[in-house]
Symmetry: C2
Subunit: 252 residues, 2 copies
DNA sequence: TGGGATTTGTTCGTATGTATT
DNA sequence: GAATACATACGAACAAATCCC
């Protein structure tokens, strides 16, 4: 186990950390929340991973209380699950749940197109194409990056609607989509998606809502069904090891 | 050693409470969350009401820690808002936000009907009609009850789908709908809704999905537009006074 | 605009519940 | 199946930020 139960001689440095962090824009809980979320989405934390509050706290240099409220938010978001008096774990949805989530996602993304198409701007198309370009680039060197960008394409669409609630919901189903692909997806399953993003943009440019909705639906069905059989067991790494990469909060 | 806490005369009864609650299914935070949520939905806590952690804690006989995690959940749900270092308040959405929320709600409830209609059972219709009956009954004697039941009709529909995520989302938009009506709705604005619920059930019984969706859409537009002008200032009551009615946790 | 009262952000101790040997 | 280690639930205390007159 990871327990590096050192004595309390670190209190001084911890207080130093505390002062430094307090100057940041957000609070500590935000930081932990964001970092854990990214770690889950990028599949560094596999579904089912247990996250004891004080192990996480040690990783980020904060106390359990801070970790706790971050976990509460992640649970509310469906990225983690928790039962009373038991360790919180990264959510591990069943196949049934996964399908239900993707059905909801299809409905939500249809709503996005319906809201967005009437007020679509040229700058939107430009930014979408630029995003797809970066997706193609990332595809060559970084799988976590690819996963994240693939989801952010859909998030970008939602953001263009300006509908805060819709943005939040899409954000959530996209995150959980990554989680699901981590569970059931074949490795590299996202690589075909880039073309589908491009044809969708083309349909949007033509102003063809029905076709765009059809393509989006097809795309999401494809994403959902691409992951099915391969339930390979993910590699075991220590929690401290995984989270150490997420400490310098690069929320850009 | 144990810290002396005999200076508070309520200690004994508090420990009694605590022991009793510990035996409950959920934890204290659940209780506070549920109670606050109900108080907001039933419009006992008006939008914009400030909820200092300490005051709420005193009302429920728990510490700030417990209140805090309840508030985090309510913020995640959109029923409250909070900025760093500032008191959390009951959400007070703008008219623009309110419309956006209702647009999302229409999309979600369409999804509910699309999921439910193919597998609709007789028992569903029975339960829906029974619910409407209780709505009519409540309409005569209790306005908070009426508000709550009116929302629960939609929640019931969602629950019949068995789609957990859809249930959660509908639950959220329904709650926020109550909040919005509290802000912008005329008094008694929910009273016309009962008939609309009935005609919807009839369409469902005929198996007419398109008609059901049309009626639902009409219904929601009606609910959304019934509230518009009347922004009467709600009566001022003390926080302790309001919350005292929500302490005995009657979560049926 | 200044300063005291209020409120939040955070840490840590204790009690209690869960898992494991 | 009991003892022990581990983890969470909750409360109290203190510094820093905000509120309000």
């Amino acid at each position: 186990m990871i327990r590096g139960k050192t004595d309390r001689s670190e209190t001084a440095s911890q207080q130093g950390l505390k002062a430094k962090r307090a100057n940041r824009a957000g609070n500590l809980a935000d930081h932990v929340y964001t970092s854990l979320r990214r770690a889950i989405i990028e599949q560094a934390l596999a579904p089912g991973t247990k996250l004891p509050e004080d192990s996480v706290g040690t990783s980020f240099g904060v106390s359990r209380t801070v970790v706790r409220s971050a976990i509460v938010r992640l649970v509310a978001e469906g990225l983690m699950v928790q039962q009373p008096n038991m360790r919180a774990t990264v959510a591990s949805p069943s196949l049934e749940e996964a399908r239900a989530i993707f059905r909801v996602r299809r409905g939500l993304e249809r709503m996005v197109l319906e809201e967005l198409m009437p007020r679509l701007e040229r700058s939107h198309l430009t930014r979408l194409r630029a995003h797809v370009a970066s997706e193609e680039q990332a595809k060559r060197h970084s799988e976590p990056e690819t996963i994240r960008l693939s989801g952010e394409f859909h998030l970008l669409l939602a953001q263009f609607t300006g509908n805060e609630l819709l943005i939040r919901y899409v954000s959530e189903v996209v995150s959980r989509g990554s989680l699901i692909l981590a569970l059931y997806g074949r490795p590299h399953s996202s690589e075909c998606a880039v073309n589908e993003h491009l044809t969708l943009i083309d349909a949007m440019e033509k102003g063809d809502l029905a076709e765009a909705v059809r393509l989006m639906d097809e795309h999401l069905v494809a994403v959902a069904t691409r992951g099915l059989l391969d339930t390979d067991v993910k590699r075991e790494r220590s929690l401290q090891d995984i989270l150490s990469a997420y400490r310098p909060a690069g929320e850009g």
